[in-house]
Symmetry: C2
């Protein structure tokens, strides 16, 4: 699928990547619309993992996920002509709600292609923000074809979930805030699905706090980024098998090179650890985090990352959960 | 039961009540140990209730409830002689954990009498902070006798859950912070069980923001304060029937006169509205609130309080929930 920018590469074959200045410009652009999300600490979790953990609460962001940063930056960056016939995307969750809200704020319309098996809660969120939902079969091929047909028929502009420099720059604004709030972190961790949040975070941290290690955490049941990181090229995810529904995607063509260059490591976690970390966060911090958001803490619980006595930052990616289908 | 202070009345028969200065002194005393809890807003909830609602998040307080403020103030106020043999209380939940932590911080021991049917989660919290749990039968008579026996045998000092001026002053510190954070509220609401939080809040608001109306919200299935407020004297709760397990107590002898004097109204809510408000808060704010904490919002959902276009403050009293036994 096209990434929705004018060009995904330059004449020299170099793929586009956002600069720190792009992230700073994104932060200024989305400033009136986003929440500056708080940092939470929890002494009980610190004791359990043996580190000082700082949670950046993007579950408290508009639409309940960091996704609004990237969607908002992208939609605000579009020309009048590009929004004339509205925008479109595909999503089984948070990106769809983010695009729907961004479209409403920009005064245009949005279509979100959603797999027919998407949870009612997530469909309701997209509908709540006024987007039109078009169902597709629950597979990548049907998603892509359904979206392409809508774009062709209706002349809408694609807002990609991650593989777009404007989306990556928008996601990077969470790390920009985080470093201002907690300047001297040894490690920053994010979950990784398509890689928008991780690549945006890595861009900012490499420029502003190069001593801070950036680590991506991925479910073992969807470990394409882990495999790709070690192989040096993208290895698609195959059939993902994880409760972390936001992380079932293969890492992107634009996000992967940024990750390969600026990220210290990608670690994998078990499904059991994801559920344990999710439940521990609910119980101890009183914050609702979705399974995908619990993946970095799961890595700490499993001891996969050496964080002894370290100052660790974790970006809590989202908090949209079907309260009728909890994994315990 | 004795209220644990040296005297519950004066020579003139006037019951003790804390002054604003007592609350301010409590705030200074507990300052090193408590969290200054944040205010949360939620545009979706504002739309639903037609008001600007500010949530003071005492679910993010130490031990997950406002109760730590009062317990901490009381335990820090005790003389060396009073803590020599440790302290004791009875509780089916948050007050027990609060006393346990306060005892640990003061370097003394605590015994918490808990009904034998108390949930494992709440017992675990008390044990986590190092208190000894003594079980009793699940009725007021057994609670009182078991606690009296321990105090008599072990020479411990009682820390009452609510009917103690030091406890009331400590609970009032939440409102002190709240008014600093959001100065111009039209209404402040709290749930009401024994009345410690409501009477402490009313004390502060009457002194610092007399135009702000203080309203207590109570489950219809445990409406002793509602009845008492209208009768002008305490009418015991009878057999409470509510999911809001923190609010099953009868209002206290010290808390009731403060409530009668400074509170604008007590309103009642249905069990259905409590569950709806609890779930709505989880879904929309991503904050875990316990059933008792959802009672004020339940009153707004039922339209029992006229809040049209008002600036409303709600103290979210706690967030300790058994995640294996959700009410939906």
């Amino acid at each position: 699928m096209s990434n929705g920018t004018a060009s995904t590469g330059t004449a020299t074959g170099q793929l586009e990547s956002p600069s720190l200045a792009d992230v700073q410009a994104a932060a200024a652009r989305i400033e009136p619309y986003i929440h500056h999300t708080p940092i939470m600490r929890c002494s009980a979790i610190d004791e359990i993992v043996g580190a000082s953990v700082h949670f950046k609460c993007e579950n408290l962001q508009k639409v309940g996920a960091f996704k609004f940063r990237g969607a908002c930056n992208t939609v605000l960056s579009l020309s009048e002509k590009e929004i004339e016939n509205g925008i479109a995307t595909h999503s089984s969750g948070n990106h769809g709600a983010a695009v729907a809200l961004a479209a409403r704020l920009r005064g245009t319309t949005a279509v979100v292609v959603m797999p027919s098996n998407t949870s009612a809660v997530k469909q309701a969120a997209v509908a709540h923000y006024g987007a039109r939902i078009v169902h597709c079969e629950p597979n990548d091929e049907s998603r892509r074809r359904t979206l392409e047909a809508i774009i062709a028929e209706e002349g809408r502009t694609l807002v990609h979930p991650f593989d777009d420099v404007r989306v990556i720059a928008g996601q990077g604004t969470a790390a920009l805030e985080f470093l201002e709030q907690v300047p001297d972190l040894d490690i920053i961790m994010t979950p990784v699905g398509g890689g928008g949040l991780l690549s945006g975070t890595a861009t900012v941290v490499a420029a502003l706090s190069p001593k801070t290690r950036v680590i991506g955490a991925e479910p073992a049941g969807a470990d394409d980024t882990y495999q790709s990181f070690r192989a040096g090229h993208i290895i698609p995810v195959g059939v993902p098998d994880t409760i972390a529904d936001g992380l079932r995607t293969t890492v992107g063509e634009l996000t992967f090179p940024i990750i390969a260059r600026h990220v210290s490591d990608i670690v994998r976690v078990s499904e059991e650890a994801i559920v344990e970390a999710m439940r521990l966060t609910w119980q101890r911090t009183k914050l609702i985090v979705e399974a995908s958001a619990a993946v970095p803490l799961a890595a700490l619980l499993e001891g996969t990352v050496d964080v002894r006595d370290a100052r660790v930052g974790i970006i809590i990616s989202g908090g949209n959960v079907d309260l009728d289908a909890l994994p315990w």
